[in-house]
Symmetry: C2
Subunit: 408 residues, 2 copies
Amino acid sequence: MAKNIIVGQSGGPTSVINSSLAGVFKIAKELGADKIYGMRNGIEGLLNEQYIDMTDYIKNDMDVEILKRTPSAFLGSCRFKLPTVEKSPETYDKIIAILRKMDIQHFFYIGGNDSMDTIKQLSTYAKDKNITDITFMGVPKTIDNDLAVTDHTPGYGSAAKYIGATLKEIIRDALVQPINIVTIVEIMGRNAGWLAAAAALAKGDDCEGVDLIYLPELAFDIDKFLTKIEEISKTKKQIVVAVSEGIKDANGTYICEAAAQGELMVDSFGHKALSGTATALSRLVANKFGCKTRPIEFSTIQRCASHIGSLTDVNEAFLIGGQAVKAAFDGETGKVGIYNRISNKPYLMNTSIYDVNAIANVEKTVPKEWIINDGTYLSQEAIDYMKPLIQGEALPYMVDGLPRHIKL
Amino acid sequence: MAKNIIVGQSGGPTSVINSSLAGVFKIAKELGADKIYGMRNGIEGLLNEQYIDMTDYIKNDMDVEILKRTPSAFLGSCRFKLPTVEKSPETYDKIIAILRKMDIQHFFYIGGNDSMDTIKQLSTYAKDKNITDITFMGVPKTIDNDLAVTDHTPGYGSAAKYIGATLKEIIRDALVQPINIVTIVEIMGRNAGWLAAAAALAKGDDCEGVDLIYLPELAFDIDKFLTKIEEISKTKKQIVVAVSEGIKDANGTYICEAAAQGELMVDSFGHKALSGTATALSRLVANKFGCKTRPIEFSTIQRCASHIGSLTDVNEAFLIGGQAVKAAFDGETGKVGIYNRISNKPYLMNTSIYDVNAIANVEKTVPKEWIINDGTYLSQEAIDYMKPLIQGEALPYMVDGLPRHIKL
């Protein structure tokens, strides 16, 4: 009997979502899959019957290795959230019809919270309709590290490594001039501060580290922040601060918005123009202390900097893709691959699968007890948790001076 | 006779200014220098007699190698421009007195335009005063690649490699969602567009490249820019633009300022608040076309990203440091180390020294004939010029998942 599979990628890019795709592809081939289809732009593309035969593009093991080292989503992504079955049963009928037409037995979706909801909806629908010829399996992905149950998420380790490495470089740069300067680095994370927490990794024998780290898990107090800056400036000319883009004040207002109240920025249409969080804080510091400030945003670079990918992350992402295929071929459905940490020192982990209902739409934040120094730094426990995830380098194949990628 | 030297670093950091420092240190040692002093924070520190004995910190060849791979200025930097001899002869007397007290025979200064002016002033003063016991030698440095005479500058190749590599990643990221989006990447360069020109390196078999590149060498026309975006958007959903921070309109007004005229941003004090160039252009595009836009600033990251340093650049920077020492020990003064390109294909170069008067305070910009496509892209000649400079990887020593640096 033919064993066709289809795989899609969804949500924001990471450095290793393609490594999971490579894992799905390679293990599916090894386990005897016939056709391995890839959805173009996730479920949104599938609904328009846009897909490729992956073997047309990934022709050999060299291609698999380049795919593992190519950032962003090879198949394209989407931000399409499936309507509920109650609202749009025809959407589900259509998906099942397309999958049956393609003779698909196993459906894989690589993504974050919203994507796991897609697996949840589809597997629940299949169960309710007694559809047993197609399984639905999730593969986790997000730099945000905010998925429940799994110890960490594919993509987080590489982003954390980029943040740690780049902050070490920024700190060397920031300390170079004998002047008072406050550098504020804005790191992704609207509700969970896992990425900004990685700023703590910069500190070591050969680096002073950042002075303050602010996560969205705790309310941000502008006055307390300015007081901290004033205190540190008594002993240190150059100050480096890391902040999550999503920090909010006690009322739940984003700081980039709250900071704008004092000096309302309006354009000629009268619209309030919001700057980024680092820019807003830099302006506050400059106004208060009259010193030089420098806002830096890691922007999308932090999620796609596969040129400094974590080997641990790349390999684990590959493994979890393969784990999902193995489980599906063994008959599982409505599950997600997860990482289980056995120990920190030595770092030991394994993968397994878990009920998607426990993972979809749940957001995991940084434990509050890991945030120390009056909400301005991370504990040793947090560092011990992060450290193993950035180990090893998944260096790109460099061709003519630049990383080699693969694209459709 | 004792042969003591002193070396300083000045101006903005680069990925390889420490590689030149390592070259000065290592070759001076090999040529029999006794004491090798390092000025703390350049000439500004020297005037306060702040210096170190470099052998206290660089103890072996492993330290030399780590120094070569450490970004920013190991000795600290300054932005201090020497007053002219006419204005402040006592400054010059003081410097000579300090150098004589330290029994210095050779003075080296690693830096850009302003730093070469320091060498010019000091060597001219020494000549005029018939001071023959101290030589003054410049070592070029600047990511901006805007120094005259030399084929290129140490630091440019690594910054160009970072820009090419990161843009490849940003392009993969930018193309992932099936939506209309204009990504605008701001690259350093106030008057010379060499760094933004490196955006052209991203294009290749495996990358679509950026769609438009704007350099400060040509006047920027906002209306023409918007028309270009409109044209490209007819065939392409996702557009990526690279701009020099220093682009100006036909009146010489910086675009970040000119763009603000239409929608004047004022703070509560009535100050006009200027955003960055990418942010200003993003706002213009969003207002005009109603599409999603994403401004990205490479910021200081581009000048200190030694984790993806060019091996060619690191090695050449080391070489030019050594060249300066050799020349000084041979009795030269008032000169600067320069690169001479013998050919592009194969890339062949050598180093020599040149009269500092021809280099100090002169700014070299991108040849206008290299800027093609109605001022929106770079010619093959430009790419052939840049390509050799990004070859090879000077990978950092990775320790516990992060690059190892050396610091005072």
